[in-house]
Structure formats: structure tokens, C-alpha cells
Symmetry: C2
Subunit: 387 residues, 2 copies
């Protein structure tokens, strides 16, 4: 698959993080692109989120550059917005575009002022090194506690147009909305309105269906730029499917790289009254620390799954609940099924875990959710994040 | 302080748990007592919860005995209700009281059938050993992952009437309602209706204000028996205060003994629009794994507290948010305050942690919430609970 045309990338170390590892990145489209984005639903939002929202609105969804840093969230400081505006403006000036065509984004520690100076000082170097091949460098520069970069690609109608996405995220992952940072580039010719619709649909079945620890960050941003360089306008169906595919792959990579995670867990809920009821049940199971620690310990403790479902705030009759783990029925009609604990324990040692919760034909509501196990490493990572 | 008159207690090992430690207990009032109880709000409820609810209703709040076991939740098995009914009936017969005057309760593993036989076989021994002095034996018999028993006492008007409570709980602790098992005995002469009102009020400021891990069990039961043996009817104000005191002390003991907890955390939220808004913010902070791991690591990472508050689903302006940790202002008006991280780190090593979140005079809504830190031990305990 070829990369989307008309985009170039650069990354550098601006001294924002303590370790000398790239922490500032720039993504530029050759021409103004249709842009759409979704942001955190946290009431406390970072400076770059406020500015990105404003720019997206005032440019009517026509943007050209993304400036992103790791190591500092630029949030809850007296200068947060000012720094986001200042660095976006400097980027626009250097690239010869309008300030509202720049989408700023940040990730890292909250509450520590971000100094605009080193960021601005690095912009010229970033511009000089912009290159269509440096996609991977950007994917690495935005990482924080992540252990590996996350990228995903899709092509439509045999490379007539392609989509490339990169994301970061490992902790503070919760499916209230976007969750974490992700940037998706495509050379499809799509209007801002069509892009918004596609993003909204794709988010619902990807970033809104994952959880690591139930915390939503102040900086979550998922943005898509479509620059039309391929001169090809895919059908809405094809484009939405491609975008959904890229987002789902990125979202799953985030869960796989969940802080301290050893196991990737897929939760399917079926037979609920509505999709929304199914989602609430899946979310409650996916967020239960008792379910997640049981999976970490390969303990087929299905009672915790049933109990977590019972806490979802959704009315259902436990006597209709069937639960499968790794394809083995552990609970039928709300009570223990006949199964070999030994066999299941062995299967739970595998790196992938499948949980099915079926309300047995009480409705057609269903959903799929992804989460990870909860291990001692999660605690170790987060008890000393800043030190 | 003297113990409430007219109650006797017994505990024994019925072989329900694997280790030979008392797992079955009986509490009996000499005469029928006014009874009130609150139960789990989980949609999946254990057999004894269903039966206790029915008995409480059909006896119109006049009960005489509590039969409780640890080691098995008697939940999500084909026989759950049947076993709860059978063991309650056998207890009633032996004591010469009506079956609906027995309140059954269970705690332990979900989904494993509880055998009625060994329970019934032990009833005679329990009855023979009933003694007013064996309160502590019952407090120990109901424990599961708890590391110590939880008891609390209050006296009203210089021992004119007294209240004694015992509770268990360490994990699966969440403030949706009762949470875990607690039994409170008093010799006050109080009607069932007055008892219900007092319990409802006391629960709100005790068991509904604590969290360990955000999970609500299928077996939560808090029951109060008032047998009138003191022949003293306290004023509603005095009785409610005494009961609230006992419940708050028990609730705090549960948090202090939270699975793997090293630190006891008190969260005060003030200045919110309403008490309910304050409660939502406090709950969100108290449940955030990122806040709880930061406290475990003595990391003054107040950004996580602000972010957790922002996720509470309550509208507030972060620019009015002040945060104190251990009496040191770490955030003022939504941005970092000037403080010594070194000093605060040292203070966070203490076993008690105080967090204050103040929306600075935007309203009079306030609440107090209790939680604990989240440590690697929590994971160790829960990854292998059944093995």
C-alpha cells in the first residue's frame, strides 16, 4: 500500500521531556485539507484542545498542519492557552498558512507550565526536515508511557486513495470519547462535512469501545485530515469503512499496549434489549478491576463478570445470562455451567482472552468492547509516573 | 460502655471455607426486635438477599435472628434461594421463632453451590454456644480477605441504651449503597419505621461515602436490630447520631482495611453547586486509579485529581478549583500553586492522606468521602482469590 500523497512529517527533541527522545512533531499537508476532530469530554481541558476546537471552527474544517508535543500536557497552567496560540501562530507564519489552519495537541504531565520558547526555536528545524517518509518518526515522538508506536493503514479501491493513522495512548484510557491522541491522514477528496460524519461513526466503534483504566485525559484528540491529493472521491460507504478500520486497529493497539497489560481482552455482549444496554454492560465488565485482575491471574472467576454486569445500571434477568470465556461456557442461565477449571485456566494463560456475555435472545442489542488485564505493573508505572 | 442487652452470639467452623476458621455465625435477640436493612443495588443478587428482603417485608420489620456465613456468596447457583430458605427455616425451628424472623446473609465466592447440609448440621452447636459475650467471635467469623475484624460502639445518654456494630469488607467496595455485610445491634426501644429512617440517613453519610475499587457486590447487606431490652426510647436525634457514628466508624474501618491498602484517604469537596454535585466529584476522585496509584507512590500529582474531577459529569469552571494535599495548597484557581514537592512527598508517606477540592465559594454543596491508595498488593490478592 502506498502512503497518502501530499503529507510530510518531521520530529525532533525540543527538551520538553527529561530524556533525550523526540518530543515535538509536525505534520503538514501540501494543500489545505478537510479536517474533522473529536476531543475529550473532560470538563478540564488542555490549552491546545481549546485552541484546536476554535481553529477547527473558525477555519470551517479546512486545516493544513498539526503541531504536537509529548512530555507536557500544557494543561492547568496559567499560560496553557497562550502557549498553544503562540506556538500555533509561529508554525503558521513559518509555513505561510493561516493561524487557524494549525491544529495543536499535547500530551504529558498536567500542571507544569510548557515553555513556548524551545518549541518555537525548533520549528525551523522541523520545517527543514519535513519529509513524506518520516511518518514513523512522528509516531514515535508522541509516545509517553507507551512501549511501542501505533500505526494503521487502509487503502480504498486498490490504492485509489489511502488512509494512514498514528496514535499514542497506554494509560488514562477510557471510552467516553476520543481518548488519547490520534492523527489520521488521507489523500481522499472528501468535504469537511462528510469527514465529520465518517469520523463520528468510526469513533463509536473504535475509540469509544476501549478501556484501560477508566480515566479520561484532559488532552484527548483524534483528528483526520483529508487533502484530496489523490483527486479521488470514494463512496461514503468505502471511506467510512476504511476510516473505521484504521481507527479500530489503532484503538486495539492502544489496549494491547495498556499500562502493564499482558493480555488483550475482547468482550462481546449480545442479546441485550438495545445496543446501548449492551454497551453499558460491556463497559461495566471491561472496567471492573476484579474482572481484570482475575484475568491477569488466569482465574476463571466468572462470578465477577456476572456481578460487574449486574452493576451496569441496566435491567436484566440473570437467569437468562450465559457467559463464555475462551469459547468455554462457564455460566448458563445465571448459574455455573459444567466445565473443566483446569482446561480453562490453561487457556486463560494465552495472550488473548475472549469473554462473551449473552442475554439469550432477550433482544438484538449487541456490542464489542476491548480492554486489557490489570497487573502489578500498572501500579508500578503509575505510582511513580513523574519521578 | 456496656453491650446492648438481650443479644447473644455464636460462631463455628462449618467447613464452608477451605481453611479451618469460623465461617458460620448466629446472632439472636431474646425478643423480637425492630429490624431495618439496606441491600445491594446490583441487578444480580444472592439468594440470602432475596430471602432477607422477603422476610423483612413479610415480618413487617420484626425479626429475631441473623444467620450469616463466609466463604460462599450463595449467589448465581441453581439452589441459591432454596438454600437460604432451608437454612433460615431450620434456624427458626430450632429457636422456636417464625421463619420470616430470620435474616440470612452470605459472603464469599460467587457461582459455587452452597451446601445446606453442613450449615443445618451446625445450627444446634451454634444455639448451644450462644452467649452475650461472643460478639467478637461473630465479627471474626464473617471476614474474607479482611485482615482484621471491624466493630464499633455508641452509647446514648450515659448507657441508657447502647449500639454495637460489626462489619466485614475489604474488596468489591463501592458506595452505591450498603456495600458488604454489617450488622448493628441495639437495645433501644425504636419502632421499625423509626429504625428505617435512622438507617437510611446514617447509610448516606457512611457506607455510601466509601470506595475501595468501585465494584458493588451481589451480597451487600447492612441490617440493624433494635430489641428494646433497655426499655429506653431515645430521641430521634440522639439515636440517629449514635447509629450514624457506628456506621461511619465501620465504613472507615473497611476502607482502612481495603485490599492492599497502605494509606487511608479522606476527600473533602466544598464549594460545589449542590451536595450531589460535590458527591459526584468526590466519587470520581476517589475511584480514579491514577489518583490512587499516585497516592500509593507519594507522588503529589495533583493534575490527576483535577482531571478526575473533570470527569465527574458535573459542570464547573476549573479556574475556580483549589486543591490541597496534606494541608498544602498544590493547585490554586486551576493552576499549580507554589509549594515544595520535597516537603509534600514526605508528608504523603504518612498513613493518612487528606485531599481537599474547593470550588471556592461557587456554592455551598459539600461532601466527605473516604478511600484508600491502590497498591500492587491489591492485584496480588485479586489475581488469585480463589486459588
Amino acid at each position: 500500500m502506498r502512503m497518502p500523497m501530499g503529507f510530510s512529517y518531521a520530529a525532533t527533541y525540543a527538551g520538553i521531556r527529561k530524556v533525550a527522545k523526540d518530543d515535538l512533531a509536525l505534520i503538514v499537508s501540501d494543500a489545505p485539507a478537510s479536517a474533522a476532530a473529536v476531543f475529550t469530554k473532560n470538563r478540564v481541558v488542555a490549552g491546545p484542545v481549546t485552541v484546536a476546537r476554535q481553529n477547527l471552527r473558525s477555519s470551517r474544517g479546512r486545516m493544513q498542519a498539526i503541531l504536537v508535543n509529548a512530555g507536557n500536557a500544557n494543561c492547568a497552567t496559567p499560560t496553557a492557552e497562550k502557549v498553544a496560540i503562540e506556538t500555533s501562530r509561529a508554525t503558521a507564519e513559518l509555513l505561510g498558512i493561516k493561524p487557524n489552519q494549525v491544529l495543536p495537541a499535547s500530551t504529558g504531565v498536567i500542571g507544569v507550565p510548557l515553555d513556548a520558547r524551545p518549541v518555537v526555536d525548533c520549528l525551523f528545524r522541523l520545517k527543514e526536515t519535513l519529509d513524506p517518509s518520516r511518518f514513523d518518526a512522528v509516531a514515535s515522538a508522541i509516545l509517553t508511557t507507551d512501549t511501542r508506536p501505533k500505526t494503521a493503514f487502509a487503502s480504498i479501491k486498490g490504492d485509489k486513495t489511502t488512509i494512514a493513522g498514528l496514535a499514542k495512548g497506554s494509560g488514562m484510557i477510557h471510552p467516553r470519547m476520543a481518548t488519547t491522541l490520534a492523527f489520521i491522514m488521507t489523500d481522499a477528496a472528501v468535504t469537511p462535512a462528510a469527514l465529520r460524519t465518517a469520523l463520528k461513526q468510526a469513533i463509536e466503534r473504535s475509540f469509544n469501545r476501549i478501556t484501560v483504566d477508566g480515566d479520561t485525559s484532559t488532552n484527548d484528540t483524534v483528528a483526520v485530515f483529508a487533502n484530496g491529493a489523490s483527486k479521488f472521491t470514494p463512496s461514503a460507504k468505502d471511506f467510512n469503512a476504511g476510516l473505521a478500520d484504521v481507527l479500530a486497529t489503532l484503538a486495539q493497539q492502544i489496549v494491547r499496549d495498556g499500562e502493564g497489560a499482558h493480555k488483550f481482552v475482547t468482550i462481546d455482549v449480545t442479546g441485550a434489549a438495545t445496543d446501548s444496554a449492551a454497551e453499558k454492560i460491556a463497559r461495566s465488565i471491561a472496567n471492573s478491576p476484579l474482572v481484570k485482575t482475575a484475568i491477569a491471574g488466569s482465574d476463571p472467576n466468572w462470578g465477577r463478570i456476572l456481578s460487574a454486569a449486574g452493576n451496569a445500571g441496566v435491567a436484566f434477568d440473570p437467569r437468562h445470562a450465559d457467559i463464555d470465556m475462551q469459547g468455554i461456557t462457564v455460566c448458563r442461565g445465571g448459574v455455573a455451567a459444567n466445565f473443566s477449571e483446569e482446561d480453562l485456566k490453561k487457556k486463560l494463560d494465552e495472550p488473548e482472552c475472549a469473554v462473551r456475555f449473552n442475554l439469550r435472545g432477550r433482544g438484538r442489542g449487541k456490542t464489542r468492547f476491548w480492554t486489557c488485564d490489570l497487573t502489578e505493573e500498572y501500579i508500578r508505572i503509575n505510582a511513580s509516573y513523574r519521578t
